[in-house]
């Protein structure tokens, strides 16, 4: 019995240690592609997207976007789908004859499969969306963080940068990379 208890304790300790060792921080990547709705007349009301500092905002939704991996890079949250809600603060746009850059606040609700198990995470996003600058695409630049509420399920925590484009046609393509602890 004593041997069994010692063996069990050793096994328990080993398993615990394994879990601790399994938590790693690394630069991880993800892509999000989809088709955006036409802007509505007011801000989005979902979580971090529910922010309109200037009081003049519109909401763009991207339902059922595809969450993918960047080839050869560790993934932020596996693969699956995402629903995006983006509030564009039109009243805070920086204006020029060449076009505008408009701040946005948004969320991306990810429903994915990570390491063979279901996962869900919500990303908080902020940044700008600009008129085309050097190419035909309308660039997006900003940052993101994994929200603590709702709590991620089989996910991680962390933050990083987001870049890509959202064109007038509604075509959205984002690449995220950040320091993620899983």
């Amino acid at each position: 019995m004593k041997r069994f208890a010692i063996g069990f304790a050793a096994l328990w300790f080993a398993l615990g240690a394994t879990r601790v060792l399994a938590v790693t921080s690394a630069i991880r990547y993800a892509t999000i592609t989809g088709t955006a709705s036409a802007p509505s007349g007011s801000q989005c009301t979902q979580g971090y997207a529910n922010l309109c500092p200037s009081g003049s905002c519109s909401c763009v939704q991207v339902p059922g976007a595809v969450v993918g991996r960047v080839s050869g890079k560790p993934a932020i949250d596996g693969t699956g789908t995402a629903d995006l809600f983006l509030t564009f603060d039109n009243g805070a746009a920086t204006v020029s004859a060449a076009g505008d850059c408009t701040p946005f606040f948004g969320i991306a609700r990810l429903t994915t499969t990570r390491l063979g198990s279901p996962s869900s995470e919500t990303l908080n996003l902020n940044g700008v969306h600009c008129a085309p600058i050097t190419t035909a695409d309308s660039p997006i630049l900003g940052g993101f963080g994994i929200a603590t509420s709702p709590a991620p399920v089989n996910g991680g925590k962390g933050y990083g940068k987001v870049s890509g484009f959202l064109d007038p046609s509604g075509s959205l393509s984002l690449t995220l990379h950040g320091l993620i602890t899983e």
Partner: protein
């Protein structure tokens, strides 16, 4: 009189062709970036004052700055005084640590009585370092909202531009710890 006509004709051609004469330029600001002791947003410049009043915003002001253009060679920016204010919203951090919204403005005025001026407004996400030895980063965009600059030898007013705003910031008590770039398409 003939000279005046020639100069006028050049100016008309330059202005008339302005949408075609878009110039790719990078405006770079470097300096020391220090946070003010007051726990409130910047209020002396209009764009940074857009940080929401109900949020915990702080004001960063850069000193010992310089503004210069790096590309194209068509734009000339003489020595001047540059002011940089950035309001950072601690309340709207995407996560802890994470990326905070930042409203920034750069104002430049030529010294020595020259006519050159420039105003740049930008919005960016100020993200915590992605590594132990790395700086914080700005990722965003903005506009040259109004400028009077020398373009290809001719002083032109009403110049505007649009571009991406990126940069780095390393907390430090002294020295150059801020770099901001606006890589823009400028329309004379």
């Amino acid at each position: 009189m003939r000279k005046l006509i020639v100069l006028l004709a050049i100016a008309i051609v330059a202005l008339g062709a302005s949408p075609v004469l878009a110039i790719n330029a990078t405006f770079t600001v470097t300096g020391h970036f220090g946070v003010t002791t007051t726990t409130s947003k910047c209020t002396s410049l209009a764009y940074p004052a857009m940080c929401p009043s109900g949020d915990n915003c702080v004001c960063y002001t850069a000193t010992k700055t310089s503004l210069h253009t790096a590309t194209g060679g068509l734009l000339t920016i003489p020595p001047g005084t540059t002011t940089v204010d950035v309001s950072v919203d601690n309340t709207r951090n995407t996560s802890h640590p994470g990326c905070k919204p930042a409203w920034g403005e750069i104002q430049y005025t030529e010294t020595g009585g020259g006519p050159d001026t420039a105003t740049i407004e930008f919005f960016a996400s100020l993200c915590s370092p992605l590594g132990a030895t790395l700086p914080l980063t700005f990722s965003g965009g903005g506009a040259l909202t109004n400028a009077t600059l020398v373009v290809d030898g001719f002083p032109l007013s009403g110049i505007t531009g649009l571009g991406t705003a990126t940069g780095t910031y390393s907390p430090a008590n002294t020295g150059t710890n801020l770099t901001l770039n606006l890589s823009a398409v400028v329309v004379p």
